[in-house]
């Protein structure tokens, strides 16, 4: 066996790590470990000079293993692997110790954090000794794309991809395309017609030679891996098998069921309506109460079902501006009608939105505030002596006084929440969900449309509530990512797969039973198991189940993990 020569690099991460970890001392201590040729600390290892340091040392000191102690490997493992590749070393002869997210950021005692960093690096050093070079493998990409959801996001992505002459399968659960945008009359902040935004796009999709639209259709489990997925879709009349290389999830969300907020009496009080219902009123062209009268007073209540621990804790983002849009539309149609806008905080971020607020606030509207967390407004039927239909009682936040507001129509600005079947979709395509059942992106800032499953992208409101421009941006971003993949023609597939040592395999077939990807088959002639490395995703479950130790999980071998444990405990004081 060749002599193991390890280089260890400890990152300060500016002050993020160096504030709590005595990096210089750690570096000295690590220098004494067996096989460590060089141990350095540097301000920013991920910077170009930091990476150059590694490249240079590999050449100068003839290193054949590298350990970087810095942030989470989920952040920069790829960066440093590339640095190894640059200097001609196999990228898998590398290990990272997470001394930022798992150490300096979560502890307060400098001595303890320093000790922990030393332990973690010692473990990485012990592990990296047993690392083996792994060869990259690539497979051809199927240039077709499956898009789930035919709202504005799905449609935008579909057109972007189809216009580049690539096949798109667009699956829609309902019988029509357009999604939530189809419900809207005008869009904020410029009060343009939503119909004009969506209608010509729907027509373009329906007539596009590269887009196949499936309405009233649901999907089965998606099988395969990036570049080569397949699934069965169920239309109202038949089942169709599709194969495709990438997936865009654009399933959107649904309005909050405001019946849950008892204070508002929705469903019982005739003229309490949701913002979605009011859009329909506006679309009809005439603003009247449900009993056919012209309203004298209209009240709008914000945050119905949003920003409240009892319902949804998050902000639904679009309701404030929608409310301002309503005010402008009502003022134009019925200049004599009094409008009461009962809000908690006015969230007017985004291009043109603050301007819309500024214009609206000058339009003779009564803006009143309430606390969105406690004492929600109480709506009740007015008596026959009152001149209005409904009365809203609440504590006005600025004055601190309990007041009553008259209204003939109350519009509840309902929030948005994930679809009931979000979990099924997440399972079908293999993406994770957050606590609010929105799909999780790979990285909130640096990789906002990809997911942890390669080849699967999440766009639009299924990822979090957002408005039309944001949804469209995400959709087109995902389309660009997919087109880039198709353009390159091939993708790298998982290399950290399992392999069977046929000499030790006893043919018990336990591994075949536990494999979630049916990647393992049995060779009848030789009575041994065999792993199809294209299907294997490297979870390692077979390796744990194998009674004879015949299965090796590459990059997570028994030897590597056991050495890591040993290294972790090697420096602990007794």
């Amino acid at each position: 066996m060749e002599e193991i020569r390890i280089g260890v690099y400890i990152c300060w991460c500016g002050t993020n790590i160096a504030n709590l970890v005595d990096v210089e001392n750690v570096s000295k201590e690590i220098q004494d470990l067996p096989n460590v040729v060089i141990s350095r600390d540097y301000k920013y290892m991920c910077s170009d000079p930091g990476q150059d340091l590694i490249v240079q040392d590999i050449k100068e000191h003839n290193l054949n293993r590298v350990v970087v102690a810095a942030c989470s490997p989920r952040m920069h493992e790829i960066t440093f692997r590339r640095a190894l590749e640059k200097s001609g070393l196999n990228p898998y002869l590398f290990e990272m110790a997470n001394i930022r997210e798992h150490d300096s950021w979560v502890h307060t005692n400098r001595n303890e954090a320093t000790k922990k960093a030393t332990d973690l690096i010692a473990a990485a050093v012990a592990r990296v000794k047993w690392h083996e070079p792994l060869e990259k493998r690539s497979v051809d990409v199927n240039p077709a794309t499956l898009i789930i959801g035919g709202g504005i996001s799905g449609i935008s992505a579909a057109l972007e991809i189809a216009n580049s002459d690539k096949q798109v399968y667009l699956i829609e659960k309902t019988g029509v395309l357009g999604g939530l945008v189809s419900n809207i009359d005008l869009t904020y902040p410029y009060l343009n017609s939503a119909k004009q935004v969506i209608d010509h796009k729907i027509i373009a999709v329906m007539n596009h030679p590269n887009i196949t639209v499936y309405l009233n259709t649901v999907i089965d489990q998606v099988h395969g891996y990036v570049g080569n997925f397949e699934t069965t879709i169920h239309t109202s009349s038949k089942e169709i098998k599709l194969s495709f290389g990438s997936v865009i999830v654009a399933t959107g969300l649904k309005p909050f069921d405001v019946k849950k907020v008892i204070n508002y009496g929705y469903g019982k009080l005739f003229n309490v309506i949701t913002s979605i219902e009011f859009e329909k009123v506006l679309k009809s062209g005439i603003i009247i109460t449900r009993d056919g009268r012209v309203p004298k007073d209209i009240a709008i209540i914000h945050c119905a079902g949003s920003r409240n621990e009892d319902y949804n804790a998050y902000c639904s983002r679009t309701c404030c501006m929608t409310a301002l849009k309503f005010i402008n539309q009502i003022k134009s149609a019925l200049p004599e009608t009094n409008i009461y806008d009962i809000y908690s905080d006015m969230r007017a971020f985004g291009k043109g939105c603050e301007e819309l607020y500024s214009i609206t606030s000058k339009r003779n509207v009564m803006f009143l505030t309430f606390d969105h967390r406690v004492n929600l407004p109480q709506i009740r039927q007015a008596s026959y002596q009152d001149t209005c239909n409904l009365l809203i009682e609440f504590k006005e936040k600025f004055s601190g006084e309990s007041i009553e507001v008259p209204a003939d129509i109350v519009i509840l600005m309902v929030g948005m929440e994930a679809h009931d079947d979000a979990k099924q979709v997440a399972h079908a395509v293999g993406v994770s969900m957050d606590g609010n059942r929105f799909f999780i992106e790979r990285h909130p800032k640096l990789d906002p449309v990809a997911t942890t499953t390669d080849g699967v992208y999440v766009v639009g409101t299924c990822q979090s509530p957002k408005d039309i421009p944001d949804s469209v941006s995400q959709a087109r971003a995902a389309a660009a990512r997919i087109l880039a993949t198709i353009q390159s023609g091939s993708v790298n597939v998982e290399v950290t797969t399992s392999v069977v040592n046929e000499k030790i395999c006893c043919g018990c077939q336990t591994c075949i039973k536990v494999c979630p990807y049916t990647a393992i088959s049995f060779k009848e002639d030789e009575k041994v198991s065999f792993v199809n490395e294209i299907l294997c995703k490297g979870c390692g479950t077979c390796g744990s189940a194998c009674p004879t130790g015949a299965i090796k999980c590459k990059h997570f071998t028994d030897l590597q993990i056991l050495s890591e444990i040993e290294g972790l405990m090697s420096l602990q004081e007794v």
Binding site: S72, P73, R74, N98, R100, E101, H102, D103, W105, V106, H107, T108, N109, E112, A113, K116, D119, L120, A123, K423, A426, H427, G430, S432, M433, D434, G435, I440, T452, T453, T496, V514, P516, Y517, K537, G538, C539, G540, T541, G543, S544, A545, C553, F556, D558, I561, L562, E564, I565, E566, L568, M569, Q572
Partner: protein, 141 residues
Amino acid sequence: MNQSPKIVAFLCNWCSYTGADLAGTSRMKYASNIRIIRIMCSGRVEPTFVLKAFKEGADGILICGCHPGDCHYHEGNYKCLRRFHLLQKYLVQMGIPIERLKLEWISASEGVEFAKLVNEFTETLKGLDPSQIKKTVETFS
């Protein structure tokens, strides 16, 4: 009583390790005596790994995976759960208190829960004496 119990944790890459990263990016504070080992799936945790960590002197072992139904590899966490139950029985046979081994589900968004879990487990282990397994093994080998 053990003032600084040593914990070795096996965290799956997709949910729990990410959850622990989130605890970091959100600057949660938790006890510093935990050392995390990354594995791709909780289904990869072999009983041998747990026993090895005990043998090397760990006072407690924590295994974290995705919540049931959320496994990145569909069902690795169920495999982990089955092995965990068997392993518990084995630990009883070996005279190792089963409180020393803990299995919890931590999702990618549960940074707060992870920090809480580490602190609670540390408290549990503080209530026990330091593990004698390493010494026992050394004596008999």
